[in-house]
């Protein structure tokens, strides 16, 4: 009986998504779903209702109180018109983002290394790891797993969290929490148009059914023609005088299904994106439309969370993933492009249990197993056939962790955590973390944090060989040690000020070599030292004016040479402001990010710049439509980001002024 219900429900919802997609322009109002039970029941009736006990999605928040945490809400994403996670991250204190017109790269506290596809940041989707098993990469551009409209909030936990999460939780953990089906209560259709021939559409359906099943199904498709670009480095007759025409295209689709009922929750998602490379990267033929990359990531997980009582809980999760990368690099006009292919497949199991001990302690213990049963990397020329490399591997990772929260005195808490990981080929790694949290008054919090984390070399760094690149199988894990002091003070009227001082020491950093005369390879090539200070001001007047302002001062240098690292700005200022325009129901939002200059790989300088974006958001126009318009880089500032080795350009120019308009229909 329930399975029949479930089946008819899924048929219904697939039908609804299809129908609503076809009605997208017809604006046919459908009656809203009838509330399950009359919303004005009296107390006696309420006393008899059986409820669905809330799931585990919030359970892990508390584990990370012992960090500097930022949360960006769905409202902020909507009102500021953030298009990607990269847009969100560049507004956070200490974070910056750079791009090579294919992928976006996260910088944290003055640290963003060339040749690192965000492997030093752990990116979670509803608590499930999205970093894949070959490059450990985290997607933050359009190739990120879910549509931005489906995000309920983005939680960003700074500092090493390897004590809880193991490898990759190095500079930060980013957890993207998606909306529940109940928050849609029907169907949403979004269409958008943006600069450079970009068109996108989304159809989503979600609701809670009367049997307690909460369901969300959503699909997104986008196609962008891209920009015509000019690169002075290629300004010669043989390379089309530096003009890259029609080779900046980007196309993607993504699907998400989440379902939860009682103690169980399920999610599955898939994304595939194809991007043209307009930059002539990796010595490919400039302005050749055949050079492109296609990235795919599919994830599925089932989580069971049980609150045993108010003071104990248990949860377990089974998850699986598949990552595919298909790169085509045109090196010869008369031959098929070189193929760079990767496939990673894995399954994993996570267990954790939390329990209050007496009145002063809260203990969390857990274990994690991951079987990377397929790790396939190859690079070849199809015709004439030349095989540069082919690696078929599999590996196991196991980890156990424990964290204890101890109330030492009323205003003083101690968090002590440790995690032990075993990686095939690298043995055991220990990641400890200690935090002291002192709240002398309700308005004041002081935190002292210390931790150590590690990152094991990934498959790509160990084994990949392609034209101009060689492998290095002697790589060792790299380590980070951090120390941080945070002070937060509420000063009344919804105003909070905060300050954070940090010191990071990285040892045996895994980096690509820089000598273009020899094949590039990855080695444990550097040790670095970072120091910095972040100051923040946050104003929140409920439904009125809201804003954040932050300043970061940081210096990250190579310990051997005492020179500042490349792509490491010394100072940043970030501001966001949102306010309703009185009497209109429209919300105006602006955000701006200043970044000081950055050294490049070739020893030049990418100049300081300020980006300013401006948005208007009109919710529920005519009762059913959300309208929004955003101008990005309002002042058309010219700027560029430093890029890794393998580019003729030292700095890749970024977009000038651009716009996006959107409508979302709810019914």
């Amino acid at each position: 009986m329930p399975s029949l219900q479930l089946r008819s429900a899924s048929v219904f919802l697939i039908a609804s998504v299809l129908i609503s997609a076809s009605l997208a322009t017809a604006q046919q109002p459908t009656p809203p779903p009838k509330p399950a039970i009359d919303s004005l029941m009296d107390l006696e009736q309420l006393m008899n209702i059986e409820i669905v006990v809330a799931g585990s999605k919030r359970a892990q928040d508390s584990r990370d109180v012992a960090s500097f945490v930022s949360v960006v809400s769905a409202a902020e994403i909507r009102e500021h018109g953030y298009r990607t996670l990269a847009d969100v991250l560049r507004t956070l204190p200490g974070f910056y983002v750079s791009s090579d017109r294919n992928y976006s790269y996260i910088g944290v506290r003055g640290f963003s290394r060339p040749g690192d596809w965000n492997s030093r940041v752990l990116l979670l989707l509803n608590g499930v790891r999205t970093n894949e098993s070959l490059y450990d990469l985290a997607y933050i551009g359009e190739e990120f797993s879910v549509d931005m409209d489906l995000i309920d909030r983005v939680e960003v936990i700074r500092g090493p969290s390897s004590a809880l999460y193991g490898s990759n939780a190095y500079f930060a953990v980013i957890n993207v929490v998606t909306r529940a089906g109940s928050s849609l209560a029907g169907t949403e259709i979004t269409t958008s148009a943006a600069s450079f021939g970009t068109y996108a559409g989304r159809a989503s359906f979600g609701r809670t059914f009367t049997n307690g099943l909460d369901l969300l199904v959503s699909g997104t498709y986008s196609d962008a023609k891209g920009r015509d670009l000019f690169y002075p480095e290629y300004d010669a007759p043989l390379t089309n005088n530096g003009l890259a025409n029609g080779v900046d295209h980007e196309e993607f689709h993504k699907l998400l299904v989440t379902a939860s009922k009682g103690d169980f929750s399920f999610q599955a998602n898939t994304v595939s994106r194809e991007k043209g490379l307009p930059t002539g990267a990796y010595a490919t033929i400039f302005n050749d439309g055949r050079t492109r990359t296609t990235d795919g990531l599919s994830l599925a997980s089932l989580t069971y969370h049980r609150a045993l009582s108010n003071s104990a809980s248990f949860s377990t999760r089974l998850h699986a993933g598949r990552y595919t990368y298909d790169g085509e690099y045109a090196y010869y006009t008369d031959q098929l492009p070189n193929k760079d292919i990767s496939v990673g497949e894995w399954v994993g199991l996570e267990l954790d249990a939390a329990r209050k001990i007496g009145t002063r302690q809260f203990l969390t213990v857990g274990a994690e197993f991951r079987d990377n049963f397929k790790q396939f990397l190859t690079n070849y020329d199809p015709e004439p056939y030349v095989l540069y490399s082919e690696t078929r591997n599999s590996s196991m990772r196991e980890g156990v962790f424990a964290q204890d929260e101890i109330k030492l005195a009323d205003p003083l808490m101690l968090y002590a955590g440790v995690r032990l990981d075993h990686y095939d080929g690298f043995g055991l790694a220990t990641s400890p973390r200690l935090a002291l949290i002192y709240t002398p008054t309700p308005a004041t919090t002081l935190k002292l944090l210390a931790g150590r984390a590690f990152r094991a070399p990934n498959e790509f760094e160990l084994y990949s060989v392609s034209p101009g690149y060689t492998s290095n199988r002697t790589l060792e894990p790299e380590h980070i040690e951090t120390l941080e002091l945070i002070a937060q003070q509420f000063i009344g009227g919804g105003v909070q000020i905060s300050a954070s001082a940090f010191r990071n020491r990285l040892t045996d950093l895994i980096e690509p070599s820089v000598d273009p005369a020899n094949p590039y390879f990855y080695g444990n090539l550097a040790s670095t030292h970072s120091r910095g200070l972040e100051l923040g001001l946050e104003v929140n007047r409920g439904h009125g004016l809201e804003g954040q302002l932050s300043y970061s001062l940081q210096r990250t240098e190579d310990r051997a040479t005492s020179t500042t690292l490349t792509n490491s700005p010394g100072q940043m200022v970030q501001a966001q402001l949102r306010s309703p325009i009185p009497g209109t129901g429209v919300i105006a939002a602006m955000d701006a990010q200043y970044m000081s200059d950055r050294r490049t790989v070739a020893g030049n300088v990418a100049g300081a710049h300020t980006l300013t974006n401006f948005s208007l958001f009109a919710p529920r126009t005519l009762g059913r439509f959300d309208l929004s318009a955003t101008v990005y880089n309002v002042f058309g500032i010219r700027y560029g980001d430093p890029v890794r080795e393998g580019f003729a350009q030292d700095v890749i120019a970024q977009d000038g002024r651009s716009f996006r308009v959107r409508t979302t229909l709810h019914y």
Binding site: L43, M47, I49, T441, A443, F490
Partner: protein
């Protein structure tokens, strides 16, 4: 024949009853939705000191302090409702903002010291405080929502109600799981 028919009839009735009960039992709502309805009902069973400055149709302001599914559901549920002829107005504020001119507040604050700050301010301003978990009333909140055996229950602290100068009706107290009168705040 007629006997058999009546047996079938009885079985059918029995099956309907069982099935009917089962259908009802299989109709759970989300915890936060149910809690939101409770919050609305509490407002109807609490009396405040007469405010001569407020008109019979003036807005009745309820604050929501903190984040979470119940806070969201409560905001959503109360938005279009009324208390008598007074339209309910819901405002979300931060824990350190003023409670003046307000009748009730739904409070979610995991930090115990901040929670005490809010509850002290609420008692001084004559604000009914509603929260979640047993510890909410032991720490000085007036009404705490909690879940027992998959059903929502609530505790009332009459001493806290008194210090906030609100009167909880006997009808509400009759349905209360635990009525506390914790003048002793040693647990704080």
């Amino acid at each position: 024949m007629s006997e058999r028919r009546s047996i079938i009839k009885r079985l059918l009735i029995l099956a309907t009853l069982l099935f009917g009960v089962r259908v009802e039992a299989q109709n759970p709502m989300s915890e936060s939705q149910v809690k939101a309805m409770f919050v609305y009902n509490f407002l109807k069973f609490v009396e405040w000191p007469v405010d001569t400055s407020a008109g019979a149709k003036d807005p009745f302001v309820v604050l929501i302090i903190g984040e979470g599914a119940t806070a969201d559901a409560t905001e959503h549920f109360l938005e279009s409702k009324t208390i008598g002829e007074r339209p309910l107005v819901v405002r979300r504020i931060r824990w350190d903002q003023s409670l003046a001119g307000v009748r009730a507040a739904f409070v979610v604050e995991p930090d115990v010291r901040r929670l005490h700050h809010i509850l002290d301010a609420a008692a001084a301003a004559g604000v009914l405080t509603i929260g979640e978990g047993e510890s909410f009333t032991t720490r000085g909140g007036v009404i705490a929502l909690l879940v027992e055996d998959r059903k929502v229950r609530f505790d009332v602290d009459t001493a806290a109600a008194q210090s906030a100068r609100v009167r909880v009706s006997s009808k509400l107290l009759a349905l209360t799981r635990v009525v506390r009168s914790s003048t002793d705040r040693s647990q704080r």
